[in-house]
């Protein structure tokens, strides 16, 4: 893929958090380690491209999003936006224009909304602080437009409400409206439709796809839901314990996964219709993965049905397995 068309690039991105040992660790003087939330990720998002980032709970998806939106500082690697190194940028003179161009839809709709602000003020806030409107009628129009795009109709009904006066899915849509109102060039959407029913979900996804089609907006769509990733994305990147284990087109990852973890993920995705066989629970065994105790060698080896000796010692590199398709497994050649 041509570099010039990339709006976003992550190079060997790493985010480690110092560990908080339990009482026993402190008493026994065990060494404090690190939670390796993000542990060396290379990823690019093209202009107007939709990339889905999938992975299990705790695999580092939100942390990647927080680095991109400058809410978390990486401990290693680089964050490039249109080729410009943003890793250590802090000044408000660079960050304000950056925030206008890059917005995040937060995973936790309960935490993301200020409980003392009305829906109107919540959606209006970035428009005011980024000085995107000239007068109040413009402001009202932008807020109204964004709420309607997020499926909150008639939008005026929601203006004076406080977050606790909304249902869960309505809150989530206020968070979405906040990001849409800014009209950014890149949205990092962290599980943006998790609390929405299929119909409203379809409506929101259509809005995001339209923004890409008409305004060439790029989207990093974080989700734990493989069918949803397939539905919206051009490419899917699969994260496991802080590392990308596979990346490819949406169809390749969904229908022809190569990495054993992606295969397990696909096999565990239940049939959506009512004839689901509930005895077909996933085959993955082994200890619960934890970013605080990343296994040596291939980090998937304790749960991998195909693991062999080498996997316990050496970490496999990401290798090309087809056009635009990479997998990090010793079995892929």
């Amino acid at each position: 893929m041509p570099d010039t068309a990339d709006i976003l690039r992550l190079e060997s991105l790493q985010v480690h958090f110092p560990i908080r040992g339990g009482f026993f660790d402190r008493v026994l003087g065990r060494p404090a380690g690190a939670v390796r939330a993000v542990d060396g990720i290379d990823l690019n998002v093209g202009q107007g491209e939709i990339v889905a980032l999938v992975g299990e709970s705790g695999s580092g998806k939100t942390t990647v999003g927080r680095v991109i939106t400058k809410l978390a500082q990486p401990t290693g690697g680089r964050l490039l936006f249109e080729g410009r190194d943003m890793t250590s940028e802090r000044g408000s003179s660079t960050l304000r224009p950056y925030r206008r161009r890059v917005q995040m839809i937060f995973q936790d709709a309960y935490q993301a909304l200020n409980p003392r602000h009305t829906v109107f003020d919540i959606v209006a806030e970035p428009l005011r602080s980024l000085r995107l409107v000239e007068n109040h009628s413009q402001l009202t129009e932008r807020v109204s437009e964004a709420l309607a795009a997020a499926g909150l109709n008639p939008s005026g009904d929601f203006f004076p409400r406080f977050p606790h006066e909304l249902s869960g899915g309505q809150r989530q849509r206020v968070v979405i409206a906040g990001a849409l109102a800014v009209k950014p060039e890149l949205i990092v959407a962290d599980e943006p439709v998790s609390m929405l029913d299929v119909s409203i979900r379809a409506q929101i996804l259509q809005v995001l796809v339209d923004l890409r089609d008409k305004h060439h907006m790029a989207l990093l769509f974080i989700t734990h839901d493989l069918p949803l990733a397939w539905l919206i994305a051009d490419r899917i990147a699969v994260l496991y314990l802080g590392r990308l284990v596979e990346i490819g087109t949406a169809d390749q990852i969904t229908f022809n996964p190569r990495h054993p973890y992606t295969v397990a993920l696909r096999n565990a995705t239940p049939q959506i219709r009512g004839d689901a066989d509930r005895s077909k629970l996933p085959a993955l065994q082994g200890e619960v993965p934890s970013a605080a105790r990343v296994p040596k060698g291939c980090r998937f080896h304790p749960r991998c049905p195909l693991a062999f000796d080498r996997c316990k010692e050496e970490e496999p590199p990401a290798l090309e397995v087809g056009p635009q398709h990479m997998s990090a497994c010793w079995l892929t050649k």
């Binding site: 908080r20 606790h164 299929v198 119909s199 409203i200 839901d225 993920l265 993955l284």
Partner: protein
């Protein structure tokens, strides 16, 4: 769909429950005449559009409605006893050990200044009368049960991922061995593998301890895997109720039909899903007749004026003028 449970005692009876919210002097009815029963060991799903009243139903049953809400009609009985759902203090002895709730957005309900293990241990000390060290042991076990290494219990909530916090809330809800768990989107933040582990845990508790489950979710595959029965809500009313197999294979209510049709299915290459046209109805100025009539492809003249009641039909219940309720003779014929 599951093996018969040991006892099917009636645990919960929700009868004609209606809740109004007051906003700026205007009252809106969020749920209207909700009635259903729940037996020990049973798992019932509550499914419906965003804003259709699922959380309000759950909160009303647990006696946890917000201050601007009022139960205007109906009652809730637990093992035959009427619950004081309008009185927060009087409800306290019933929470945690009888009915516990995994709140929607639970990931934000944890106390930010206490370590995880301590927060799970707290209700065990208060309700089960455990000592602090016993409660800590139980908390560590519960963490492992929901797939979080017990050592991570030393962390503060902000140090855990969204899905990990959600699982901590599930562990807390299970801590005092309740007879009913109401899970309000309890697995929305979880990937399929972690989710399957939690659903299996619920399944084990159902078969071993006869736990009853009310599962609120948008994920119909979770419903299919976990529940025996499903109730569909639209604009504050239950519009369909039946076994999971019946409702998924032969949905009766037009809303249910559209809902099931709009599920994306990678297996047949159906990519972009089609939303149900139109907007959810305004709860302050409720439409007359059937609340779905402006969006319903089968609407008839009667639908604009008469509210369809939730009637028993051959298999289950449905509120739609297209479906004729069972007559006395039908009922006799079925039972004969």
């Amino acid at each position: 769909m599951t093996e018969p449970s040991r006892s099917t005692a009636l645990l919960l009876n929700v009868d004609g429950l209606s809740v109004d919210y007051k906003l700026k002097g205007l009252s809106s009815r969020a749920i209207d005449g909700v009635s259903f029963a729940l037996r020990a060991g049973e798992a019932v799903a509550l499914v419906g559009e965003s804003g259709s009243g699922k959380t309000t139903t759950a909160m009303a049953i647990a006696g946890l409605l917000s201050p601007n809400a009022r139960v205007s009609e109906g009652e809730v009985r637990y093992r035959g006893e009427r619950l004081p759902i309008n009185d927060d203090v009087a409800m306290r002895p019933h929470r945690w050990s009888e009915t516990s709730v995994v709140f929607q957005g639970a990931m934000n309900a944890l106390n930010p200044v206490h370590r995880i293990t301590k927060q799970i241990a707290e209700p065990c000390i208060l309700r089960l009368g455990l000592s602090r060290s016993e409660a800590t042991v139980r908390a560590r076990e519960l963490l492992e049960l929901v797939g979080i290494p017990a050592d991570r219990g030393a962390a503060y909530p902000h140090e855990l991922s969204g899905g990990m916090r959600q699982r901590v809330m599930i562990a807390m809800a299970l801590a005092c061995r309740p007879s009913i768990v109401i899970g309000d989107e309890p697995t929305t933040a979880l990937d399929v593998i972690t989710q399957a582990q939690i659903l299996k845990l619920f399944g084990d508790l159902r078969s071993k301890l006869n736990l009853a489950l009310i599962l609120i979710t948008h994920d119909l595959s979770v419903v299919a895997e976990t529940c025996d029965r499903v109730m569909i809500m639209y604009a504050g009313r239950i519009v369909e109720d039946g076994t999971v197999a019946d409702v998924f294979a032969q949905p009766k209510h037009p809303y249910t039909q559209l809902l099931i049709e709009s599920i994306p299915n990678p297996a047949n290459g159906k990519r972009m899903i089609r939303p149900i046209p139109g907007d959810p109805p305004n709860l302050v100025n409720r439409p007359s007749g059937c609340a779905f009539h402006s969006r319903c492809p089968s609407a008839m003249t009667v639908c604009a004026t008469e509210v369809p009641s939730l009637d028993e039909v051959r298999r289950g219940r449905v509120a739609c003028h297209l479906h004729r309720p069972l007559t006395q003779e039908d009922k006799v014929a079925i039972h004969a």
